[in-house]
């Protein structure tokens, strides 16, 4: 299996070579053998000893191609696929499909304190459309692409959650 960790460039390989049935595993990671002793797996928290060092990982999300874990206090996104290298090449070839997306999402939860533009306005990537207030700070939601504002989904005073749609840009 191939793995890619969010902020790292390298592709890692990993497989389980041997399992002795009492929680002891031999795994091969990037060509090197490691011993794993599982301590427990409960409520999505996996505790194990990797080569004589204790590790704890909380599984935050698990999908067929993505795993999000909390390890050493940091959130790690891992992409996995038996042939990840090919998958990544393909997606790069396709060229950022997400840029074609119309929906402008709020990256933080907050209260809408002002709306800077109106439906029909032309915007460039990075133009501030809405200002949110959270924790006594004002944060602008900026357009993710160039285009025309087709719809604004919020009004002043509304509260929005993370990833709520605040506007549509065409």
């Amino acid at each position: 299996m191939e793995f890619k960790i969010n902020n790292l460039d390298e592709i890692n390989t990993g497989s389980i070579s041997q399992s002795s049935g009492n929680g002891k595993i031999i795994a091969t990671i990037n060509g090197k053998q490691h011993s794993i002793q599982i301590i427990s797996l409960k409520n999505s928290i996996l505790e194990f000893i990797l080569d004589n060092s204790y590790k704890t990982a909380k599984i935050l999300e698990y999908g067929s191609a993505n795993i999000k874990i909390l390890i050493d206090g940091e959130e790690i996104d891992i992409k996995k696929h038996s042939k990840l290298t090919e998958v990544l090449e393909k997606s790069t070839a396709l060229g950022g499909a997400s840029l074609g997306e119309n929906k402008l999402l709020s990256q933080i939860p907050g209260r809408v304190v002002s709306i800077m533009l109106k439906v029909g306005d032309q915007v460039k990537k990075g133009d501030s459309i809405i200002v949110l207030e959270s924790m006594k700070m004002q944060v602008a939601v900026k357009s993710h692409k160039e285009g025309k504002i087709r719809d604004i989904k919020v009004k002043v005073g509304d509260t929005v959650s993370r990833n709520d749609i605040v506007a549509l840009i065409e």
């Binding site: 902020n7 795994a27 990671i29 794993i36 996996l46 990797l50 940091e74 891992i78 939860p109 006594k136």
Partner: protein
């Protein structure tokens, strides 16, 4: 000790409310908390002896609602009010209302507060008391031409500040006349919108400055002392991030000299209770008075750790009319202390606020470690209020011991569900200029700390990548076993033997 009061209402929330509640418990005074709709599950509600509902989440409808707070204080029979910091802590109207109703306000008198709150008036008094101040305007400037004149006299670059601002907000920089005229116009409009009046003044911009402040205490019998300095130069956009004591540039002689000036400053406004005199120090070692903060400050634990004095209990005793139970000469400077303000902001993404539910958290502890926080597993970090969720303070026999303990405690501090400034502090604690005490208010930009943090984060991911892959492998295999039709599956299944490692109720 004079007669103590029997109850205190805390007109605040979060960690500072908890700090005051602890002091009340130690003095066997009944603590009375307030909570907005947002704070029903907050820790200060759980810890106080009594808790009263104050109103909707928005601060103006709850923790800033003077009439409602006074009303509850009276009906609950609170003999005193502690305002904490922020909210109404430097609101002279609130202090005056308390005085009027015969409720002890734990802080300075409304009169002294009015003086320290008006920065220009305060500066004038300081000049008379021969306290050094920064070159610049002596008064609030109504016209831009006057500002330009003064800027020329003091020399560019200059800073344009609002007399009503505070906490570093709204400070503008001007390098020449054109810039000054532009900024003056914008700042003036902004100030009028917010405070109904302009109230701008000009100050010489000092290069490579440090922000150093002195903790003060003064009782109603006129006894005043300073409790040494705090070095607060590690800031981001004029907001303090890290405070420590002693400062690496304050020797015994300077400490005594500037400390005396601070006490004189407090005397000149007949200041009562705990407060802080803030100074700027330029590269040549000159100190300039900037303002008196007429409240308990966020960073007061730093002073508590190096003096052994409980400042909140001292505040309460002074408010009850007690004399300060020690003299300047009784105070010993003991070791070194560092504080990091843990804010719910994402340092990897321009410090955007990051509030929400905290499913789990793990407070660091051990020798020399203190945490002041309202976090607990299952708590909620509200977007309605300040982003400060915890203060981590460490003590050491010297700066290095305190710093290393801070570094380890930061590693131990786990807060799930929100982003915090912890990764930035981890980087700073091991950064060579910080280690040498080579800092100024532009430290973060000067040494590009944000990028350093990002690089180190990558390195850390690389270091833990084996463990991450191992976890992903094991969990995938476990699920495979779970999903396979039955035990007869020949695939590697972990679902049975992960049980073996589970906790057993062994004897």
């Amino acid at each position: 000790m004079g007669k103590l009061i029997s109850s205190i209402m805390i007109a605040n929330r979060g960690e500072i409310a908890l700090r005051v509640i602890r002091a009340c418990k130690e003095l066997q005074i009944k603590s009375i908390a307030l909570y907005s709709d947002e704070d029903l599950k907050s820790k200060h509600v759980k810890s106080a002896d009594e808790a009263y509902y104050i109103g909707p989440a928005a601060p103006t409808k709850s923790y800033l609602n003077i009439d409602k707070i006074i009303e509850i204080a009276e009906s609950a029979g609170a003999e005193a009010v502690h305002p904490g910091y922020g909210f109404l802590s430097e609101n002279e109207t609130f202090a005056a209302k308390c005085e009027e109703k015969g409720i002890i306000f734990i802080g300075p008198t409304s009169e002294a507060m009015a003086l320290t709150g008006d920065k220009m008036k305060c500066k004038e008094i300081m000049k008379k008391a021969e306290v050094p101040t920064i070159p610049g305007s002596d008064d609030i400037l109504e016209e831009v031409d006057k500002a330009v004149e003064i800027a020329e006299e003091a020399g560019y670059p200059v800073l344009l500040k609002s007399a009503f601002g505070g906490g570093g907000r709204g400070i503008r920089f001007a390098d020449n006349e054109k810039q000054l005229r532009e900024e003056f116009e914008m700042a003036s409009a902004e100030s009028r919108a917010a405070f109904g009046k302009s109230g701008l003044y000009v100050e010489k911009f000092l290069k490579g400055i440090r922000h150093i402040e002195f903790q003060l205490a003064r009782d109603s019998n006129g006894n005043g002392v300073h409790l040494f300095e705090r070095e607060c130069s590690v800031q981001r956009r004029h907001q303090k991030l890290i405070e420590f004591s002693p400062s690496s540039v304050v020797d015994k002689k300077t400490r005594s000299k500037i400390g005396d000036i601070a006490v004189r400053a407090a005397e000149s406004v007949d200041y009562l209770n705990a407060g802080t005199a803030e100074f700027l120090r330029d590269e040549k070692g000159n100190f300039y008075f900037i303002e008196v903060n007429s409240r308990l400050q966020v960073e007061h634990p730093v002073t508590e750790l190096i003096t052994g004095i409980d400042l909140v209990k001292l505040q309460i005793k002074i408010a009850c009319g007690d004399e300060i139970p020690f003299k300047q000469s009784d105070l010993n400077f003991n070791g070194s202390a560092v504080e990091c303000r843990i804010n719910a902001e994402d340092p990897f993404h321009d410090f955007v606020p990051s509030n929400g539910y905290v499913p789990d958290c793990n407070l660091p502890y051990g020798p020399g470690v203190r945490v002041d926080t309202y976090l607990y597993p299952g708590c909620n970090v509200s977007g309605y209020y300040d982003s400060l969720v915890a203060k981590l303070i460490t003590w050491g026999a010297d700066f290095d011991e305190a710093r290393i303990r801070m570094s380890n405690a930061l590693d131990e501090f786990m807060i799930e569900g929100i982003h915090t400034t912890i990764p930035l502090y981890r980087t700073i604690m091991k950064e060579k200029n910080f280690i040498k005490g080579n800092i100024s208010t532009d430290y973060l930009e000067k040494y590009d700390l944000i990028n350093l943090m990002k690089t180190q984060s990558k390195e850390k991911s690389l270091k833990t990548s084996d463990a991450s892959i191992a976890a992903a492998l094991v969990y995938s295999e476990y699920l495979k076993g779970q999903n396979s039709p039955s035990n007869s599956s020949k695939e590697l299944s972990l679902s049975n033997w992960v049980q073996t490692g589970n906790i057993k109720n062994g004897i």
